[in-house]
Symmetry: C2
Amino acid sequence: MDLRRLRYFVAVAEARSVGKAAERLRMAQPPLSVQIRKLEAEVGAPLFRRGTRGMDLTEAGQALLVRASEALALAADGIEAARAVASGRRGRLSVGYMFVLANAMLPRLIPELRRSVPGVDLDFAELSASTREARVLDRSVTVALCMPAINHPEIQVARIGAQRLMLAMPTSSPLARLSSVPMARLHGRPLIALPHPDHGPASSAVVPLLRRHQVVMPIASRVETVHSAMSLVLAGEGFAILPACAQLGAPRGIVFRPLRDATDSLDIAVCWRRDAQSPLIRTFLKCAERVVAGL
Amino acid sequence: MDLRRLRYFVAVAEARSVGKAAERLRMAQPPLSVQIRKLEAEVGAPLFRRGTRGMDLTEAGQALLVRASEALALAADGIEAARAVASGRRGRLSVGYMFVLANAMLPRLIPELRRSVPGVDLDFAELSASTREARVLDRSVTVALCMPAINHPEIQVARIGAQRLMLAMPTSSPLARLSSVPMARLHGRPLIALPHPDHGPASSAVVPLLRRHQVVMPIASRVETVHSAMSLVLAGEGFAILPACAQLGAPRGIVFRPLRDATDSLDIAVCWRRDAQSPLIRTFLKCAERVVAGL
DNA sequence: GCCAACCCATACGTTTTTGGTATGCCAATG
DNA sequence: CATTGGCATACCAAAAACGTATGGGTTGGC
């Protein structure tokens, strides 16, 4: 059973005439007549009553007509839907994000996305440092907002901004009275350390920073997430060196201060599978860049 | 866009491999590969990700898959529905009946039909003597249960039975005491006359019957329907000569008696358009015959 | 009552499309 | 490094569809 036959059939049924339908289909009348008869042979029953003034559907023809029209529309819709998905006008976008970026970015990113790609189903998921790479690779998220970027040959990275590192401490700390904290004042103070997912147990940016300034901070605790770090800071367990945007998720009782004479920063990056390159991802990237630009 | 392409596409998507799908479709792998690429060209975007271990749908491919499967199913269902209608397993049957037959036949005919053609939408309409022919011709009823048959070149008739003519009179009439009424006793009594739809104003069977027995009955009233006739009989306006089955619709106060030495009867017939010949009508005919046989 | 017009069906040659076979290319695997 | 598994390409043969020419039946006008 061929879709063209059904298309012809619908045309003839609507025109109630082979000749008229042939004209509308821009083809000759005889081949159309032949196709209709082939369809009837396939069904095994007449679909039209041939009158002297054209053709008229039989009951069997009417039964076929409704379904054939629907099938035609569905097939056309399928092609169109595939195009829309390929072009990024429709589809599904699963956005992974790391907690540090959530408070700074999501409130502006989500409306921006809904505006930019209104036909797309959006879905958001927090990523942990340890699983984010796997979530991108197995496509359970389409794109990931990361800090810092994922480093993997199959994953493509676009750096869309950076956040200065700041010192996080309890409001009660004596250092909190300074508007910015000299690196030297950190020497000897306890550090709440975050692992870096790629390069071992300590944050990739913090370790070189301390080394460069010849500051030694004993590691008071190792934690997995930024909010664990902030909890421990609030509890007075030590100091954390965190990207500026973490302030927005910080509980009362914690203050952030810039580090004097240290401009080190962590990259904000969008990461996705290299083979999933698509217009939708490009659009997402644009949105994320706009949001970061407004921070 | 061709339905075969969509079928191929679905097969490849389900098999997640061109080779496997080709096997299932009993064709060689290369032409299938070509068809898939043609479909992708038509859509304007890749539908599969080619990996080293087979093919995998892209998001656009997934969007197409759901609709393509549905379209396929609908097309197949359409063909099947047309066959079902043509074979009489499904469809619509509009049954017209004349009032005289309603009480005798419908209570047994309707369940019989529902059992015989469970997939068919049944619909019943009472026919008047004056419009029944037009209702068959314009297809507003598919078949008509008539008494007597319609006489028209475009209408086919199947006689399925007959009903003896009987005398209908008020219970109070002196003739009601007889178990059967000799024709001669009718002479001079008032007649409630029914028109015959084809042959003028008087019932085609009653006029010859009276003439043959040389009985003259003055016409007290002319009525259009059997129940009008019975109303007038009940009112004492006169006698009616009606088919036996009319008894079942008769109100209290009317009795029917056979006519002694007169076996005249009226035909029960099924009538339908000659060009609407169908298995469904044949099935209907069988049912109607069975019902009449059990009267 | 015959002829013209209309419409669908059939026949046949041409073109387009599709399927098969042979083969190439690439990546993963042992 | 060779082998295997899987998709893509090339080329040829077969099938299907389209167009032109034509037949046949019915309607409607003169």
